[in-house]
Symmetry: C2
Subunit: 423 residues, 2 copies
């Protein structure tokens, strides 16, 4: 860790609620906040998940106040009895809970946004700690809670419901951070090099043993395994000029190493977004024939707004009968080479091109496991086919991982194949 | 929070690494561990995400040792220079890093499992703190790190790569916990009631104002908003007898309230698993015609091993041309009623049934946003169609949320529709 982070405005997040610690829900707010703060140039110093319990909230607050300028909490501010955040914060800062008309106004406004009338007797939203800041809720009913302490720490609490949390942080908390700490906001930058086809150890111990220390000249270096390869990340502060300059120098360095040919992206755009951008730029359409990826490739594309302009659809041919009847794969091909084969993958892609009437089609057929693998065709094997007006073909790959991870890898590899196909 | 948790063996987890805090990766280990520990009857007391920095690791260790019996860390034990966990743990407990032959044996074995030969000079895996426990890595190369301290705390460190972390916790850490704390392991139970169609506030303030306190007699109560409704959860310790008894009493109580008709599941099985179980039990096949859910419904089914027995495939008809040409929807239907209509949804389901030759088919057509909404058909509106040999039809629903959340809701609602269809 470099010393460059010492002056950055730092944030600690506390996620309050039993449901994540006991495995009932998966957190979305923490991972969203980490991305949000990074872009805004703030450092997320720590992220704590604690139970909805006064003692633990107090301990976490004490530690967070000690290490950071801004403390953001999520959860525990709803109308039910297990929501303890407001009263705990009030006690923590020695403030009384009082009936406040300004908060009642915010609650009334929150309700009105949903076309509803709030009645004071229906809940305790307007009982609020004295001197605390009432915060609008752009996407829900419960008001957010803010407090700027005498020792210049800004504590803010949002609901745990992700859409409410995210809107409140973006539209209400961030302006408050700017109000109290505006002068200290700086920007963070990263240079990201995304590789495929070489394991992490091989990159840094065999192929490029000096790369790590050479990169450290530019900033903090990390190496991150992703679905279809290793991402090398160099982080530093500065401005867009410095970012551009370092980007170029790092690219020059990487191009002089043996892993240059394994780089599939100089940047950090998810592969589904790259596919969508390229298809829109080239004004071409595409679709998939998915077997082992089971709909995930299509789902990754349709996660993106605007995908309907270029993505026509897919045939999920999980059963071989669909491969034959809908995609027109020759039953002899499946009989002779197997459903998981470059021959079948190629015919699936060709069939999808024809049925969907798109400019490009990519297919997946493989073994996601845990059952169904053989010595010859083990779990993790996938054939990816491609087809366009001018050409068609397929490749065979072998990936590690469990079923969920393999579906991720199969679909990302299919998207990468489509990206290369559109070049 | 009830006092029942005081004697439970408690665990604190520390996730070490910059990549999660700066938003580069989304954590999988923490949410997996929370589920794993809950099933095993251990309490995950807290979950901390910190940077790969000696001071912060020390602070987190101090706090975790203070609150829990078992401390699990992930990340920072690989071969690269930014992996600081081992040396930090050694210093924390005042142990020297020494060259250990027993650890070299574990590393050799880890490598052999991948068909590789480990050379001592290739890295520092075998430099290990004196008195520490070397732990096998069932799915990777780096050995895990364990230490049972004089004050009876068990600290264990696994790699951050999810498949390695999960295998090591399951196969190596849990046996160590049993070895040192076996007598204190107890079981946790939950009674889960999953509802749909009524907002949280309406349940607890309007329809059943006494329900919360009535449920508290049985244990700790939580109310958790999920994609298609509110889950009510009652948690308690005990044995399977007590679990069965409380389940029945709680069911009886709920059945006497107005929300009885909104319960879609007495239990906690994900809707995709329920669909798969029911289809297998009834020996029926199914498929989907997905528009707005864009492949996610199919992907949720194919996430499950064994789905190929009953799930034949889907037509992702994102573009209207696919609805017409592949599914056989009458273009007049789309022209007269729109692509998002019960009429189109019904024809999509009927078309899928015919094309896929399955016993059941369910369709989705809606507006995932953020663009494409109108006053008449706003973002979040979805028509879900169904078809079987005997009947077909469609329903119209309106959901809140952003694009990703709406896709989740559309697909879960489609799965629930299929579940009811198979009744």
């Amino acid at each position: 860790m470099s010393t460059s982070t010492e002056n950055i405005l730092s944030v600690s997040m506390i996620v309050i609620g039993d449901e994540i610690l006991n495995g009932r829900t998966t957190d979305l707010n923490g991972s969203w906040l980490s991305k949000f703060l990074f872009k805004k140039g703030l450092e997320l110093k720590s992220l704590r998940f604690i139970r909805d319990n006064i003692e633990e909230i107090n301990n976490a607050l004490t530690a967070a106040m000690d290490e950071s300028d801004v403390i953001i909490t999520s959860g525990g501010i709803g109308p039910t009895v297990d929501d303890k955040t407001k009263i705990t914060l009030a006690n923590f800062f020695g403030k009384k809970l009082i009936e406040r008309n300004d908060i009642a106004d915010i609650v009334t406004e929150n309700y009105l946004r949903f076309g509803r009338i709030w009645a004071r007797e229906s809940n305790f939203y307007h009982f609020f700690p004295e001197d605390f800041i009432g915060i609008k809720n752009p996407k829900g009913l419960a008001p957010g809670i803010g407090y700027y302490s005498p020792d210049r720490k800004l504590v803010m609490s949002a609901p745990g419901v992700p859409r409410e949390f995210m809107a409140m942080v973006d539209e209400e908390f961030y302006p408050l951070i700017k109000k109290y700490f505006g002068g200290r906001l700086k920007e963070n930058f990263q240079t990201v090099i995304r590789t495929q086809g070489v394991p992490e150890e091989k990159i840094f111990f065999e192929l490029c043993p000096n790369l790590w220390s050479q990169l450290e000249i530019f900033g903090k270096v990390s190496s991150l395994p992703h679905t279809i390869g290793i991402d090398i990340v160099v982080s530093y502060q500065g401005n867009s000029e410095i970012h551009k300059e370092k980007n170029e120098q790092i690219k020059k360095l990487i191009m002089s190493t043996p892993i240059a040919e394994n780089v599939w992206q100089w940047g950090n755009t998810p592969v589904n977004e790259l596919v969508l951008q390229k298809a829109k730029n080239k004004k071409v359409t595409f679709g998939f024939a998915e077997s082992c990826s089971g709909g995930l490739t299509s789902s990754k594309i349709t996660d993106l707004s605007g995908s309907s302009e270029v993505f026509f659809g897919s045939i999920i041919s999980y059963d071989n009968s669909i491969k034959v009847k809908v995609l027109g794969v020759n039953p002899e091909t499946i009989k002779n080479f197997g459903a998981v084969s470059i021959e079948t993958a190629k015919e699936m892609a060709e069939g999808a091109l024809k049925v969907l009437k798109t400019d490009y089609a990519v297919s997946t057929t493989g073994i996601a496991g845990p059952t169904g693998g053989t010595a010859e065709k083990p779990v993790g094997m996938v054939a990816i086919g491609y087809a366009s007006k001018n050409k068609s073909g397929a490749f065979l790959f072998q990936f590690p991982g469990d079923r969920i991870r393999l579906k991720e890898r199969f679909s990302d590899k299919a998207l990468l194949t489509l990206l290369e196909l559109m070049e």
